[in-house]
């Protein structure tokens, strides 16, 4: 599967990555190489194989419903890019 530059831009948008226009062709080439490589999987006959999402056949453990965390806002916000009145700030979101 060879990706066209427009497809690279679409994927980059979906992943919210700014790609310098001069680099788009290079990404298109690299990504196409990787996709061509992983397409070996197409040949695998696995129609009746259960997909394996986890290495261990374990099940989810459940946590008791207890409040264990305390307010650490000051600590957590110490390194935040932009904070005011305890809120994280971002450019205006329009709905």
């Amino acid at each position: 599967m060879a990706l066209k530059p427009a497809e690279v831009e679409k994927i980059a948008h979906l992943a919210r990555l700014a790609i310098d226009p001069v680099d788009v062709d290079q990404y298109a080439r690299n990504l196409s190489d990787i996709l061509a490589f992983v397409e070996q999987l197409e040949a695998v006959d696995a129609a009746d194989v259960t997909p394996m999402a986890h290495p261990l056949e374990a099940t989810q453990r459940l946590r008791p419903d207890v409040v264990t965390e305390t307010d650490q806002r000051t600590h957590f916000q110490a390194g935040a890019p932009a904070v005011e009145a305890g809120l994280y700030l971002v450019p205006r979101v329009i709905e």
């Binding site: 994927i11 980059a12 919210r16 490589f37 695998v44 999402a53 986890h54 110490a78 935040a80």
Partner: protein, 484 residues
């Protein structure tokens, strides 16, 4: 002091032959003297290390020291360390002072270990050469023109150059074993779920696993003992007792069946490396082990499977780096979308961006079945191969990497060739098995690693085989020139 094993250092501290402060100063001095050549550390924690060392000395004097009391170690910069920058090798987290400790950090601290600093690594652990780090590449102490492997390249180089007696690493597709092999040290990736992933910055959640990197199997056993164990904060961490890893190190390995997968000795393996590995296997045979030829018929699917599964998970795991709550934010964002795109575009390097894009693509509408689902199915086939093999053998052995350390820059523009550096290690992560790399010799003065793969939760057996091997060989005691 730096030529001593971790076990010897622990004994020395207990016997008060030297203090932890002296030992810590010694390693800090070595780092300052030598790391200019290697670039194996991103952050050095001189003050806190000395403070911890003095606390350890008090502990040691009180007679109730933790198992690693006063032992310095180097910590991969992927583990969160409260109050210390945790960069993950990325510009994205260059300014990130972690506000909490990873469970592994916590456990090592409780054992009394002294963190010297945070080691260099491929950005977000994505790489096999340590060249994707925002902090520059690491040089292999055996030859500065070559790479140390990756992603735990800084940890491997630091231990190889004896800038630390041991270090932590993480392994998603070979990131402990491959650099251990390329730097001539011992590294172990435990069974998935044996060590908590809490506070270890995620690359691919179903594959990531932390483990020890040290000079010898005996030292790795001591480190793993402190790192392993159940953690209620990690749903994928397994609640079962931890074996005593040191207790069985000297067990006899006579009669041990060692599987040699024919797929690991064929095409793609450097013949000179093959020779070294075969010699190591002959040595194990000398010790009474019985080599058995086996087959892992789907071994060839491992790398392509991995390069769907790992990018898919990483594309989602790395979405939290958005310039809002922590980490890098671009200057003067025009609007929200600009904030996201430029913060991520500028904060991540090219390899991370490539993997995010591959994963985004593989999960997107219309491609999910062909890529992600297919890869999950192939993953099952790969795991089943191992299951069948462990019906017949106790341990699997082969090369860790197909080549010795390659030259800096050699593969950096060719991602697929780079990915094949992990051709023998990746399947182990897909299956979730424990795997280990043990120094087995040299090709043109560059180290070669023997890989040992065990059945689930048989880290003790791997360590036992490796230790017995190290009793009759001295490869693990070799120190690169200039670092003696």
């Amino acid at each position: 002091m730096h030529t001593k094993t971790l076990a010897e250092l622990a004994r020395g501290l207990r016997d008060r032959a030297f203090s932890s402060e002296e030992l810590t100063r010694h390693y800090l001095e070595r780092i300052k003297r030598h790391d200019g050549q290697l670039n194996s550390f991103i952050t050095l924690c001189e003050d806190s290390a000395l403070a911890r060392a003095r606390e350890a000395d008090i502990q040691l004097a009180s007679g109730k020291p933790g198992p690693l009391a006063g032992i310095p170690f180097a910590h991969k910069d992927i583990f969160c360390t409260d109050g210390v920058r945790t960069s993950c090798g990325s510009r994205m987290l260059d300014n990130f002072i972690a506000p909490y400790n990873a469970t592994v950090t916590e456990r090592l601290q409780q054992a009394g270990a002294v963190m010297l600093g945070k080691t260099n690594m491929d950005e977000f652990a994505m790489g096999s050469s340590n060249e994707t780090s925002y902090y520059g590449p690491v040089n292999n102490p055996w030859n500065p023109d070559t790479v140390p492997g990756g992603s735990s390249g800084g940890s491997a180089a630091a231990v190889a150059a004896r800038l630390a007696p041991a270090s932590t690493g993480t392994d998603t597709g070979g990131s402990i074993r491959q650099p251990a092999a390329l730097c001539g040290i011992t590294g172990l990736k435990p069974t998935y779920g044996r060590v908590s992933r809490y506070g270890m910055i995620a690359f691919a959640s179903s594959l990531d696993q932390a483990g020890p990197m040290a000079a010898s199997a005996e030292d790795a056993a001591l480190m793993l003992q402190a790192m392993a164990g159940f953690d209620p904060r990690d749903s994928t961490c397994v609640d079962r007792p931890v074996e005593d890893y040191s207790a069985g190190l000297n067990n006899d390995i006579r009669g041990l069946r060692i599987g040699l997968p024919k797929e690991y000795f064929g095409e793609g393996l450097d013949p000179a490396v093959a020779k070294v590995v075969e010699a190591a296997i002959a040595e194990l045979k000398q010790l009474g082990a019985e080599p058995v030829e086996i087959s892992l018929p789907n071994a060839g699917l491992a790398v392509p499977t991995y390069y769907v599964v790992a990018p898919a998970e990483c594309s989602s795991n790395l979405s939290r780096f958005d310039g809002v709550r922590f980490g890098y934010r671009c200057d003067n964002p025009r609007d929200l979308e600009d904030l996201y795109k430029r913060s991520r575009g500028e904060g991540f390097g090219p390899e991370v961006k490539r993997r995010i894009m591959i994963g985004t693509y593989a999960l997107s509408a219309g491609y999910y079945d062909a890529y992600y689902l297919k890869a999950q199915q192939a993953r099952h086939l790969i795991a089943d191969d191992f299951k069948a093999a462990f019906e017949k053998v106790d341990v699997i052995a082969g090369p860790t990497a197909p080549n010795t350390a390659f030259r800096l820059g050699e593969k950096v523009d060719d991602p697929v060739t780079m990915y094949l550096s992990d051709v023998f290690t990746i399947a182990v992560n897909l299956a979730g098995l424990p795997g280990m790399s043990v120094p087995a010799g040299f090709v043109e003065e560059l180290p070669v690693g023997l890989q040992l793969i065990g059945n689930y939760f048989e880290e003790d057996r791997l360590l036992n085989v490796a230790h017995r091997y190290q009793q009759v060989t001295d490869w693990h005691t070799r120190i690169p020139k200039g670092f003696e």
